[in-house]
Symmetry: C2
Subunit: 196 residues, 2 copies
């Protein structure tokens, strides 16, 4: 897709974007920037922040400058090509919408042989998780509000809160009124059910 070689994944753009915001950075600095920024909606382990800049350097999107002694840190900087890749991406409409890909939801889908109480247990567990998640979000929001107010950097956080609330409400409904399992299909009459 890109003229030469590598494919740029969202991870690539996180790296390019953060270096653009911060200026030349070491992987370690990127890691801490991630922790302070996108981590709440896009996590990754630190090893990626060492590997991905190398890839982007090989493809000409970054340059690297390594300290000769001491910690031999690698400082990565944007090249014009990297900058332009970032700009292009920013205005390219994304075709994929979200996917739930939520393991607990998968369990629910396949939960036919679970008793109602077991299901309620799962739901309560999820409620607790989302409540905790919401608490984290609120803490971040409170911390960032004075600096970021309602600017663009805050918007994803508002979305995160919206979504976590939706999940929590969903599981609360399940816990309050656990839906019955799907009746076992009678092989005699009618075609097999659609949602199986």
């Amino acid at each position: 897709m890109s003229e030469d070689g590598i494919r740029l994944s969202p991870t690539s753009y996180v790296v390019l974007g953060l270096i653009h915001l911060r200026g030349p950075s070491t992987p370690y600095e990127l890691e801490s920037a991630v922790r302070k920024s996108v981590e709440y909606f896009w996590t990754f382990p630190h090893s990626q922040l060492y590997r991905e800049p190398d890839r982007l350097t090989a493809s000409g999107h970054l340059t690297v400058d390594q300290e000769p002694g001491g910690r031999r840190r690698k400082v990565f900087a944007l090249t014009p090509r990297g900058r332009s890749a970032l700009d292009t991406w920013l205005t390219r409409p994304v075709e994929d919408v979200f996917e739930m890909r939520d393991e607990a939801v998968l369990q629910l889908f396949f939960s036919d042989q679970l008793t109602a109480t077991a299901l309620v247990d799962l739901a309560r567990h999820e409620i607790a998780l989302y409540q905790r998640r919401l608490d984290e979000y609120e803490r971040i929001a409170a911390r960032e509000l004075p600096r970021h107010g309602q600017d663009r950097r805050m918007a994803p956080l508002r979305l995160g809160i919206k979504l976590a609330e939706a999940f929590r409400e969903f599981w609360e409904e399940i816990a309050a009124d656990p839906p019955p399992p799907t009746p076992v299909p009678d092989p005699v009459d009618g075609p097999p059910g659609r949602l199986c």
Copy 2:
């Protein structure tokens, strides 16, 4: 984690779960079952539905029976071990909550140099995507309602609708009232902003 060898991913449980629901199945049948069931919240390409059963067979969770002639289809069936893995998974609390991992949200986060109108374009695009998604969900819901009513197999769909609505509303707010870019930090006073 499992006693011998392989790690079971959510994909593995989709395969185990569907075979449990349908009985012995070929990958092709699994594919069509996926299309009719979990696909709307957990997609995968058909190649996985050929590879994953092989893995699960190697680990003793499935057995395979291949037709000698014709299409030489492989029919996979649950073993007791596969069945028990499924049961265990069903009651194991999931520790991971959802992650947005939404590329458009990432764009928004890094959209500082975008004009308000360009941002509105992105938002409108997203609104259209989610509207389409919602239409699909409503179509599925209408189709399945008579058979599945309010049972467990329908619950994920309700969640999907809730979430897609949350996304759509979010982008509608962005489009109606595009937030300002984050002010460029003044390097003179104060530490660098948290959300960068």
